[in-house]
């Protein structure tokens, strides 16, 4: 292929047929890539003919750091991976280490963990909704979503002192007892929230422009989704009813009744509907959990110095973005031999090329948004 440079410095390739193909770089600094993601698009006129995601701009060597920290010392680090949904990261890690130790958190701790994790799911989906709508041009849902998220963050702040990187859970259970009024506040939030979701739906779901921008955009078939290893709402929107909370229940999920929403087509609109419905289901789980928090200890008896027996464990949870897995190898010392994190955003991002082929350039931003990635998780 010939490659020439036009006066403005753009790379222009002419294919065998003589058509112009241009490589467009959506650089690491970009308002719509949700972090430091670099996307190289090969364009044929208006259509995307191929793409490449270049990641690593936020790589911090978290997995290597884990080899030099004790198990409890590493726990705050996992919050910084998916910094939008820190509580889920903590849940996955603590449960993985508990599995390694052969211990189990007491029932009260498990229920409180479930409540906080489901609230975190709502908060993560709210961030997703606000930013996704903003990319597509709707300016207002962002502020409404953050208004609700503020309530959740206030609950976290009262519980563990932090809003974003919470380090809410400890290996073996919880550090802090729930504060007075915890149940009442969660219940009040859940009662207000259903009305709020309806508000967002009024703005977007039936809107002709929203439908035009999201229906048929970024279609991922079920077979492709399974082949690419995609998980989470992206997988469920393609029609595959797979949720780790039902398939391999952890924490206290087997005690509650909730639905797994799926979508028929696997396009952006279905992913939107699936996440909206997931927020509603999370709210139901919270309401069920608050009614009956068992009393008892919040921390298992595992001792202060953790030396798990040599072995390996893989534990996955259903984080808001998909299957978050921790593969921990222990060599019998106080520091893990290897911690490998399977981030959902990293694997889901690999489906981007499949989704973006054949779509228009203006849809690329919508497709990046609909996968719901957090670069801290993709790069670690």
């Amino acid at each position: 292929m010939d490659e020439t440079r036009t006066k403005s410095g753009t790379q222009v390739e002419t294919t065998v047929l003589g058509a112009d193909e241009i490589i467009l770089n959506m650089g690491p600094q970009h308002p719509s890539t949700h972090g430091v993601l670099r996307v190289k698009l090969k364009l044929d006129g208006e259509r995307v003919a191929g793409s490449e995601c270049i990641i690593g701009y936020l790589h911090r060597g978290v997995e290597k750091i884990a080899e030099h920290r004790s198990y409890q010392q590493f726990a705050p680090y996992v919050d910084r991976m998916d910094y939008v949904a820190a509580v889920s990261n903590g849940l996955g890690y603590c449960e993985a280490v508990e599995k390694l130790l052969g211990a189990e958190a007491p029932p009260r701790a498990r229920v409180v963990r479930t409540i906080l994790t489901e609230l975190q799911r709502i908060a993560s989906h709210l961030v997703w909704l606000g930013t996704h709508a903003l990319d597509i041009g709707a300016l207002t849902p962002l502020f409404y979503c953050f208004r609700e998220r503020e309530e959740i963050l206030k609950i976290y702040e009262k519980y563990c002192g932090a809003r974003l990187t919470t380090h809410a859970f400890r290996i073996g259970g919880l550090q802090y007892e729930t504060y007075d009024g915890f149940e009442a506040e969660v219940e009040r939030f859940c009662n207000d929230f259903s009305q709020r979701i309806d508000e967002y739906e009024t703005l977007l779901t039936e809107n002709r422009i929203w439908l035009g921008r999201t229906k048929g955009v970024g279609v991922l078939s079920a077979a492709d989704a399974i082949a690419l290893g995609v998980s989470g709402p992206v997988l469920r929107a393609s029609g595959v009813k797979w949720d780790i909370r039902k398939a391999a229940p952890y924490a206290a999920y087997d005690q509650y009744k909730f639905e797994i929403p799926t979508g028929p087509n696997g396009d952006t609109y279905d992913r939107y509907m699936v996440r909206m419905e997931e927020m509603r289901q999370s709210r139901l789980i919270c309401l069920q959990a608050i009614e009956n928090i068992p009393s008892g200890p919040i921390m298992a008896r595992i001792g202060k110095v953790l030396k798990p027996p040599p072995g390996e464990v893989y534990h996955a949870i259903e984080a808001p973005k998909g299957e978050l897995g921790y593969y921990i190898v222990s060599d019998g010392t106080t520091q893990p031999y290897r911690v490998r994190v399977r981030p959902p955003s990293f694997v889901n991002l690999q489906a981007f090329d499949q989704m973006a082929r054949g779509s228009l350039v203006a849809d690329v931003v919508a497709i990046i948004g609909t996968i719901d990635i957090v670069l801290g998780e993709v790069d670690r």
Binding site: E46, A49, L211
Partner: protein, 450 residues
Amino acid sequence: MFGITFNDIRPYIFPVIYALVIVAFLPLLVGYITLAERKIMAHMQARLGPMRVGPHGLLQPIADAVKLLLKEDITPKNADALMFWLAPLLSVTMGLVAYAALPFGPAFQIADLDVGLLFILAVSSLGIYGIVLGGWASNSHYSLLGALRSAAQLVSYETAAGLALVSGLLLGGSLSMKTLVETQDQMGVWFVFLAPFSFFIYMVASIAETNRAPFDLPEAESELVAGYMTEYSGFRWSLYFLAEYANMIVVSGIAVTLFLGGWMRPLAAVHMRVFGLPYDLLDLLPALIFLGLAAWCTKLALRLGQQIQKLVMFLVVGLFVVLAGVMAWSLTSPALMPGIHGGFWFVVKILLYLYGFLWFRFTFPRYRFDQLMKLGWQFLIPLALVNLVMIGIGLVLVQQSGWPLGITMIGANIVTLLMALWLVRHGDKVMTAPRTAEDDLPVAGAGQIR
């Protein structure tokens, strides 16, 4: 001297004065419209907006203007200097020239051209060059494409807007802006009630004409493709900004003149005298509105903390009281009253129309460019054509067969409504993203560019 006598110049004196008034106040008005946009956007988004610069942000536009004037003027090195200088100038000039034909009041019009409406359309079509040359002068492949795309959008929606206006013209019978308002006065009914579809089509087309949401992809696409305004900073950018808002006001002015009764008071045919005063009750409205605004500002002022902000707010209250006084005093002099009250109602209607613009911006997501063009060509233009034909038929029946105006217009609009419903249902198939087999392009190596 030079053989020019005073009588030669006399017809030009008042227009020049009006022109100076408009050019002097327009940037101020545009600035406060941007402030209104930010405050309204904020309140619709559950927050407050500018509050610090001046009480409730009232001095924000002035601060912004000063900042933009003092900013460094950057010209890209390889940019075409002549075009770079010319493009914002062209946009602003055309935006301002259009005000020459807008009727702010029965006597407050710079030039009552016989072809006033066409003149404004002509000037708007000249404004396209500001965008195209601006994109060209930025010396960037993508900036140029963004500009051309924006120009294509403007040209497409100009057609729809023109057709919608023509159907209003049929009702008015003349191209002169002043005659259109006077016809509405004589008929006693605003044209929006006779031809609501024309108003609707014109409203949508005018939003697209001014590149406002939901049709602002060429502007907002500056995330992905550099829009035409990217290389402009400081004062040049503020010229483009001024041009955009000036354009919005002109377009609102056309809609108000043609469809919303221009400078006429609402319910102008209704005369209610109360308390034995020789004034219409509704004519007291302007003064009452200003007094209401003054009272509300006083309430806000009393809640403010800082002394200086309180002072500025009380000045604003004083301004409103003075305006209320002017409105009330002008009731007594029949020579001035139509002019001053006409100007008031014209501006109020423009502000209401602009509120619609702002409201749509914060509520709707953006159209993608191909959807935008499809909407213009495959929905608005056919609808506008059908609307034009139906109104034409209706008027022929009224004028030559003597049918009553109201019934005929209702019938014409029902046919247009049916056409609109059919187009909407048919259009759903074309509005979703296409992904057919032939759209998939074979590229070697999934996920790899090379």
